[in-house]
């Protein structure tokens, strides 16, 4: 099954979605001139492959998401939110007690970057999934 892969530039992030392993990653900078156009390529690909991905998901399948962002602008924020919410919905299973999501999100931050931790906490509240925070050494 085909995976989604975009290599990073100085202003746009690396994006990788391994359907077979159920791993998704965004990393780097996200402050392109046309943020929406950039992420639309992912949304188009996602819509095209959604049924195929869904067919591989069992109640025990977990999606592993790595968010390794160095910096993203306010325009990117809405796109990330859309991506996370769509993935959350896709990997949700319904049992007798309601809907459960099978998604784990890892939020990476540079040592001492309190600001990035706060952004992650805000994001976690909004998508209603607890994030696991992972401290890394300076990424540049």
């Amino acid at each position: 099954m085909k995976s989604f892969n975009i290599e990073p530039t100085e202003v746009s992030p690396k994006m990788f979605y391994d359907i077979g392993k159920h791993c998704f990653e965004i990393g780097g900078f996200s402050r392109m001139e046309n943020v929406r156009i950039f992420y639309q390529s992912f949304f188009d690909w996602f819509d095209k492959h959604k049924a195929e991905i869904l067919s591989t998901i069992t109640p025990s399948t977990k999606l592993h998401i790595d968010l390794k962002l160095i910096y993203f602008n306010s325009a990117s924020l809405k796109c990330f939110l859309d991506i996370l919410l769509q993935l959350k919905k896709l990997y949700s299973v319904t049992d007798g007690h309601g809907s459960l999501y099978n998604v784990e999100i890892y939020w990476y931050f540079d040592e001492g970057d309190e600001d990035m931790i706060e952004i992650g906490e805000d994001y976690s509240d909004v998508v209603e999934i607890p994030f696991t925070f992972v401290q890394t050494k300076t990424s540049l």
Partner: protein, 170 residues
């Protein structure tokens, strides 16, 4: 003897700005701050504020074509871990009014109030296609240590020139 410790990190003056120039300014500021030995967290605070301010200026930069200095950007090191970002750009009169109102509002909020407002604005975006206008201002206000300053000058009946000044202590 008095010594002026202010050092200009970047200065741009023009009638408009292209996106590749925005990139050049941002890259130059990042590199200069790195050379000064600032930590990545501090660099990102300044970079983040400058990005939002420049992207806003870029959005309206083509409004005025017959002026050589309607778009300006200056990033300065004031010494003692204080930095100043000033961005001046044209904007429509109605948008200038709204911008001033928004800045007055974010200036009136406490850090906790800003955090709540930020989260409220993100949640709003879960359900609509609003691209993010206004959120950049909240992001800036959360990172500065003093109220944002805005000055609005009328250029003509349709266009104003706004100057926004942000002071950052790291």
């Amino acid at each position: 003897m008095f010594r002026n410790r202010t050092k200009t990190i970047v200065s741009y003056v023009g009638d408009s700005i292209e996106y590749n120039q925005v990139n050049e300014i941002l890259t130059s500021v990042w590199n200069t701050l790195e050379e000064k030995g600032l930590g990545i967290s501090d660099i990102k605070i300044i970079y983040s504020i400058l990005t939002e301010m420049l992207e806003n200026a870029y959005r309206y930069s083509s409004l005025v074509e017959d002026s050589k200095d309607s778009l300006q950007c200056m990033v300065s090191d004031l010494g003692k871990n204080r930095f100043q970002i000033i961005v001046k750009n044209p904007i429509t009169v109605s948008k200038a009014e709204k911008l001033k109102g928004k800045i007055d509002f974010v200036n009136s909020l406490s850090p906790i109030g800003l955090k709540k407002f930020y989260q409220h604005e993100i949640i709003k975006r879960k359900d609509d296609d609003h691209p993010g206008a206004g959120l950049g201002l909240i992001i800036i206000a959360r990172k500065v240590n003093e109220p944002l300053m805005i000055e609005v000058q009328s250029l003509n009946n349709n266009i104003s020139i706004v100057t926004i000044k942000a002071l950052i202590k790291i």
